[in-house]
């Protein structure tokens, strides 16, 4: 597993190639890149600054990756999350998952993104024409993460 937090850009294709290099047991590689857009909810965004909690961000991402590896038979995972000031078109986050078959790679990538959106300690601040504004967490992101929750154990009485 590779987890990196960095200001600098990443090369999604190169990271995907790295994960499978020299291996013949990997049959599926899924690559997701999150990119900074120039609009949000109808308003123009000229820049996005990502603040993060150093130390906790890496640890929290590592916990999610460990959970993904428990749930699916993964042969490799790479997560790269940038921080600092980004402009529309810039890469923000990369998730690469590798497995023998596609189901695990697709599901794990989606799981990791849903958790990154809601539990990784990063906070986005948008620059708009009227000034800077902190992005609000979305209920839809919480709902997306919630669908991966394990069902609770039933009480003996039930």
């Amino acid at each position: 597993m590779t987890i990196r937090l960095q200001r600098e850009d990443f090369d999604a294709a190169a990271e995907a190639a790295k994960i499978a290099r020299g291996r013949t047991d990997i049959g599926a590689v899924v690559t997701f890149a999150g990119i900074c857009r120039d609009h949000e909810g109808g308003a123009g965004v000229s820049a996005l600054t990502l603040e993060h909690y150093p130390g906790m961000a890496e640890e929290e991402i590592a916990r999610h990756v460990a959970e993904a590896e428990k749930r699916w038979p993964l042969l490799g995972v790479t997560v790269i999350h940038r921080y600092g000031r980004l402009v529309p078109g810039d890469n923000i986050v990369l998730v690469v998952t590798a497995s023998a078959h596609r189901e695990a790679a697709f599901s794990a990538a989606e799981f990791l993104m849903d958790y990154l959106k809601t539990r990784a300690p990063f906070w986005k601040q948008e620059e708009r024409q009227q000034g800077k504004a902190w992005v609000d967490a979305k209920q839809s992101d919480d709902a997306a993460a919630g669908r991966w929750d394990r069902p609770r154990k039933r009480d003996a009485a039930e």
Binding site: Y53, M56, H81, T118, P121, F122, W123, V135
Partner: protein, 85 residues
């Protein structure tokens, strides 16, 4: 107990500090107690915590709920809901 507090995003902006070390009275036992104690320290703190349901907390870099005990914590962070990814 003495503990380091960290603040992020608009919690940090409202309080006007990134971090501080505080000496807590024994009566402050949980994260919820700590939020109440902080809110009483001044207007900036009251403003940061005016909707206690919104502010999240982590003890020693792990997410915790408001009823979590703070005994033994080395660092406690307060922040808004996260918007990473």
């Amino acid at each position: 107990m003495s503990v380091k507090l960290l603040y992020f995003a608009w919690v940090r902006e409202r309080i006007g500090r990134t971090e501080e070390v505080v000496d807590l009275p024994d009566a402050v036992r949980t994260v919820g107690d700590l939020v109440g104690w902080l809110a009483g320290r001044g207007e900036e703190y009251a403003h940061a915590f005016d909707n206690p349901k919104v502010v999240r907390a982590a003890i020693d870099r792990t997410h915790v709920r408001p009823d979590a005990a703070i005994a033994g914590a080395r660092e406690i962070a307060f922040f808004p809901p996260m918007t990473g990814g």
